[in-house]
């Protein structure tokens, strides 16, 4: 009992932040699964969703802003795909990767220009930021909501991938890009849907994340984005359940490490984990055996 009493606050915080990483990680993992592209701009789409919320809330009611933020992220993500990735689809993979890095810097610097470099405070969503008491731990409502919402959304997503026509198309494309295109699957449509799902979830993640950690500045997307990426690799990049499990593990471990007094090394842990995974099991926890044709 004493153990739980001491560690409950850390575990709760870890699960919450893990859920938020998971929502971002799905975007990485799905895009990678289909395009074999690490979408470096994903973390910045996440940051921009948060930033847009700050501006929207001043003119619109809460529910409308949340919906618009999700729509905004989707439009931003699909536009990036159309403008920066689609023309390079037949180019060497390195070119499209560099294009992704370029988009990431563009989004960060544009945010720097808009905000003037100052931290914006995320609007208060009273219901999410309410203080609640769970056992020995005092925390925000969002900590409790995040894991539940994450699991519900992931369940819906897995259902979509497994049991719908577009889901089947996605699986086919991720298995073999060219053959599935020859079989009459509209590749562009599949890719657009992938970006819609990824960015939509990142926008939901941003509402949860920034309700808990309320400062937004142009670099706010970088660290969560990087950690979500590690989570995706950890779980086996390309696999949705893998990314979610990976994100929860990283979130919880990070917070427990902070709790044991090794605060200085909490970030180092995440990246050491990445190196170890790449050395020992490059395909990750749930990754498929690599039958890469390159």
């Amino acid at each position: 009992m004493g153990f739980i009493h001491t560690w409950l606050p850390y575990i709760l915080a870890g699960i919450a932040v893990g859920g938020q990483y998971a929502l971002i990680a799905i975007g990485y993992t799905m895009v990678y699964g289909i395009l074999r592209l690490i979408n470096f701009a994903h973390g910045d789409v996440f940051m921009w969703s948060g930033l847009i919320m700050v501006y929207l809330i001043t003119i619109l009611p809460l529910w409308a802003s949340v919906i618009l933020v999700i729509l905004f992220a989707i439009v931003l993500g699909t536009t990036i795909e159309k403008v920066a990735y689609r023309p390079l689809r037949s180019a060497p993979r390195m070119s499209i990767m560099i294009s992704a890095i370029g988009v990431s810097y563009l989004l960060q610097n544009f945010a720097l220009y808009i905000t003037g470099g100052l931290t914006k405070t995320y609007p208060t969503i009273a219901w999410l930021q309410k203080t609640v008491q769970i056992g020995s731990a005092t925390t925000k409502m969002v900590t409790v909501i995040t894991p539940i919402l994450t699991i519900v959304l992931v369940f819906l997503l897995v259902m979509l991938i497994k049991h719908t026509k577009i889901g089947m198309a996605m699986r086919a494309v991720s298995r073999d890009f060219e053959t599935s295109s020859l079989m009459g699957i509209d590749i562009n449509r599949v890719i657009t849907v992938t970006f819609v799902i990824g960015c939509g979830l990142a926008a939901i993640g941003s509402v949860l994340y920034f309700s808990n950690y309320t400062g937004i500045q142009p670099m706010s997307g970088a660290m969560p984005g990087l950690k979500a990426f590690v989570a995706a690799v950890f779980g086996g990049i390309g696999s949705v359940p893998g990314a979610v499990v990976g994100a929860f593990i990283i979130g919880v471990c990070e917070n427990i490490i902070k709790g044991t007094g090794w605060t200085t090394f909490s970030d180092a842990f995440t990246f050491v984990l990445l190196i170890v995974i790449l050395m020992v099991k490059p395909t990750g926890l749930f990754g498929e055996k690599n039958i890469d044709k390159v």
């Binding site: 606050p9 003037g116 470099g117 405070t121 203080t131 309320t214 400062g215 917070n255 709790g259 970030d267």
Partner: protein, 391 residues
Amino acid sequence: MKKVLVIMLTLLLSMSMLAGCGGGSSSGGGDTIKIGVFEPASGDNGAGGKQETLGIQYANQVQPTVEVGGKEYNVELVIVDNESDNAKAVTAAQSLVSQNVSVVLGSYGSGVSIAAADVFADAGMPAIGVTCTNPQVTADCEQYFRICFLDPFQGTVLANYAWENGMKKAYCLSKLGDDYSVGLVNYFVEAFKKLGGEVVEEQFPDKNSDFTSYVANAKKAGCDVFFSPVSTEAAALIIDQAEAQALGMPILAGDTWDSNVITGAAQGKNVEVVVTTFYQEGGNADFDKGIKEWIEGDSTAMTNNGGNSDVAAVTAMGYDAYFVALEAMKAAGSTAPADILAALPDLTVSNLVCGDVSFNEVGDANKTEAFVKKCNTETGAWDFLKKQSAE
């Protein structure tokens, strides 16, 4: 179609570059003296740097000319952004040197000042630190002076305050690799241990925004005070978490936290925030009234000050720094950096808003007291508690 697009984009890019170059050539006329403002306008310390710059700009508004060696000069401010980044700071400092400024003011944040010190030293450029409190800024650099108190002093003052108010165990949080917070925590710990106190020290990495576990650690360790003299960006997040987890102990910090970012974050929350600082709003009625009117009348200034006209201590210090620079020029009787540098050590400036300034042999201001203020969470303003000395 594609070619046209490429040409258009190329043209657009080259146009914007030309526009960027055009800005620098506006300074004409022989009777201008340039003062470099070396401050962060973005990054971790962007908010504070902008407030400090505001003080300098306001002072420039109040006193736009200076008489040096019997000749009247217009004072022009050359403002650069060091982006709160030790690497970018060097480039920013070099751009000031190459623009032939006579003296440099700044920066907010000790790390960038230490990083840029070599550039100023090589150029023989006198630099006047405004609120960089780390001892290293002036220690190894003949060219660096400063008008604020130092961290060993501030750390002792904070430790004394904590001890006198019955706090026996302190939780100290600093940012990894940040000269200011790490330095101040060290001096606090040293002084607090000497008094008989107990400390728990932790650090958080760069770009961290999750302070949940640090607050939980402080609670778990059973501390009486949460000491975290970190940047205001991190401060807002810490205050937020302190409220969410019912921290139940006062949060103590240094001069950086004397900002409306903090009062804004703490307003309406159940937290106790106490800081030490350079200046108490209301300490000089004329200055307060003048600068408030100026900020309220200028929408850019209002935005840079964080949306209201509360005067931060760093703004008052920026104002003072400008007048110290003018006095140094008058004393030197010349606008050459080398002459100003020679005049600085013997300078004494009075009639400033944060108290008189004179320099000791290292180039630091002789200050003996700091103001202790507490955030009033109902009104969102600072309440003056007391003057605290290091003894």
